[in-house]
């Protein structure tokens, strides 16, 4: 294993394995029959979500849920726990190792006899693996025969240079820190510029005639890996992320993800205000001190802190190595920024950034409401923003009581 844990991380990990039981099996047992959820009269459009240290025990501010994947049209299913709930991406991606025997039962997507294999680009690295057709069940909702990515498939272990040059590969549990990524953000497909007829190509999709014989190809929007929520038969216009407040670092936090906006009694917009986003970039604007992040600000359950500004601009020192991706003020910094939607709706958001090195020294904690770090050119409202809020994620083109998506509401 190439992954060498840092000193403080190792302590956190060792402690959290005991607390969360994450040292055991990486995914649930095989089960047959219909999907989970909906029993006992509880709403079928919800699924439990939890902030915890994840399957590798070293995740900070990671939001996880259980997703059931089935070979399409069969009762051959696998419940996958510890899947990251990510509003910053679109589509379901599961580690091949977490699928166990189901991996060989899934049919891969093909075109002209070639297997379609995806190089999904994240800002922290890339995931490589074939596109499979699967039924996906989350809570009581189901999406039938949708394209999903199988990460780290032994059948396609050779990553093309065009893919590996886009970032560090995250193809196993230790590098990914989860069993998969459930992308339920504001859009349906992951690469509009990969569809035939576009003048640009995002280079997400490859046609492979063999395990190490792959070339960039186009894939139609319908055949791209996509947001499972949009493929549900009901409650498919978005999701609501509901998490309780966390006033200080703690071990875990439990909440709910509710499917649909204004479709049932449990997902009405209520007093939440709608902030529309640029349908091309997916961003809104944020003003912090004298800095305006025009069309370059976003909410993201998949980011594990508030990330903003350069250290010098923010007036906040970064931590010494190895935590130098985070801020380390000598005392908690109480800050305020203003979010403005494309529709000019605005809100003043107070937030606090504390010393990350001190926070991480709490070896029992995986929930850090005051974690912040540097990021030039973007304002990234990561998971701490979601603590103590109900946040609505409306999908592009979907009709909701708050208007047509894409938008955020809170």
């Amino acid at each position: 294993m190439r992954f060498v844990r840092l000193q403080f991380t190792a302590m956190v990990c060792a402690a959290l394995i005991c607390f969360s039981g994450c040292g055991g099996a990486s995914s649930g047992s095989n089960k047959s029959g219909s999907g989970s959820g909906g029993s006992g009269g509880s709403p079928t459009n919800t699924v439990a979500i939890s902030v915890n240290a994840g399957p590798t025990g070293n995740y900070a501010n990671g939001l996880f849920a259980t997703v059931t994947v089935c070979a399409s049209g069969t009762s051959n299913c696998q419940a996958i726990n510890d899947v990251l709930v990510d509003t910053g991406s679109f589509g379901l991606r599961i580690l091949s190792s977490a699928l166990n025997s189901l991996s060989s039962a899934l049919s891969n997507e093909t075109a002209n006899g070639n297997t379609i294999v995806e190089c999904a680009q994240f800002s922290d690295g890339i995931t490589w693996g074939p596109v499979a057709i699967a039924d996906v069940k989350i809570g009581g909702e189901a999406a039938s025969a949708i394209p999903v990515q199988v990460i780290g498939s032994p059948s396609f272990s050779s990553v093309p240079s065009g893919c590996s040059s886009a970032g560090s590969p995250e193809d196993n549990q230790s590098s990914l820190g989860t069993n998969g990524i459930l992308g339920i953000g504001n859009f349906v497909q992951d690469c509009p510029a990969c569809a035939p007829g576009t003048t640009k190509n995002g280079n997400f999709y490859y046609a492979c005639s063999g395990p190490s014989s792959c070339s960039v190809t186009t894939v139609s929007l319908a055949d791209q890996v996509q947001n499972p929520v949009a493929a549900f038969s009901t409650d498919n216009n978005g999701v609501v992320i509901e998490l309780p407040a966390a006033t200080s670092s703690t071990t875990s936090l439990s909440g709910s993800m509710i499917f649909g906006i204004g479709t049932q009694s449990n997902n009405a917009l209520g007093s939440a205000k709608v902030y529309t986003i640029n349908p091309s970039t997916g961003n809104f604007s944020t003003t912090f001190n004298s800095h305006t992040y025009s069309d370059s600000s976003f909410l993201d359950t998949g980011s594990n802190a508030y990330f903003f500004l350069d250290s010098a601009e923010a007036g906040l020192p970064t931590c010494p190595s190895p935590a130098n991706g985070f801020y380390c003020p000598s005392s908690p910094a109480n800050l305020t920024a203003t979010n403005t939607g494309a529709n000019n709706a605005s809100a003043s958001i107070p937030f606090t950034v504390d010393n990350a090195e001190t926070l991480f020294s709490n070896v029992n904690a995986a929930v850090f409401p005051t974690l912040g770090g540097p990021l030039s050119g973007l304002f990234d409202w990561g998971l701490p923003f979601f603590y103590g809020r109900n946040v609505y994620v409306a999908i592009a083109g979907a009709s909701t009581p708050g208007g047509t998506g894409p938008y955020w509401a809170y």
């Binding site: 070293n58 886009a166 970032g167 370059s296 540097p374």
Partner: protein, 138 residues
């Protein structure tokens, strides 16, 4: 073609002529924006991503940045420093998604964003021209 792809042709830390090589390989238009103590060569890659290369008065590329819907060819932009980034990314890290900030040796690498919108930069601390701070690189 295979040879070209595997050839370490990056520009970070290299001479300004590598910018021209880069633009030819990326098939991008280059605009030179003269600055006070350095110049910025801006390219739009075919993926729609804007790439900037920052060149010191001595003609050395001391920083690169990118912003757009898709990640550029980082190996090409960073050359030998790409492997340094990879080693650091796979070693020195707590699990983090969507944001990377790495400081290793002379190299600072930063990347963030979400699917469909990615922003990043890489620069060499010792090569920043006098009076230029990191916040100028974006």
């Amino acid at each position: 073609m295979l040879l070209a792809c595997s050839f370490a042709f990056g520009v970070l830390g290299q001479d300004v002529t590598s910018v021209r090589t880069d633009s030819a390989r990326i098939k991008a238009a280059v605009a030179v924006l003269p600055g006070q103590s350095y110049s910025v060569h801006e390219m739009i890659a075919p993926t729609g991503t804007t790439i900037k290369e920052f060149v010191s008065p001595a003609g050395e590329v001391f920083a690169v940045s990118w912003q757009g819907p898709y990640t550029p060819d980082l190996r090409q932009l960073m050359g030998d420093y790409f492997d340094q980034y990879l080693r650091a990314a796979q070693t020195f890290r707590r699990i983090a998604r969507h944001v990377v900030h790495i400081e290793t040796g002379d190299l600072v690498f930063e990347s963030g964003g979400h699917m469909r919108f990615i922003v990043g930069r890489a620069y060499l601390r010792s090569k920043l021209p006098d009076g230029v701070t990191a916040d100028a690189i974006r």
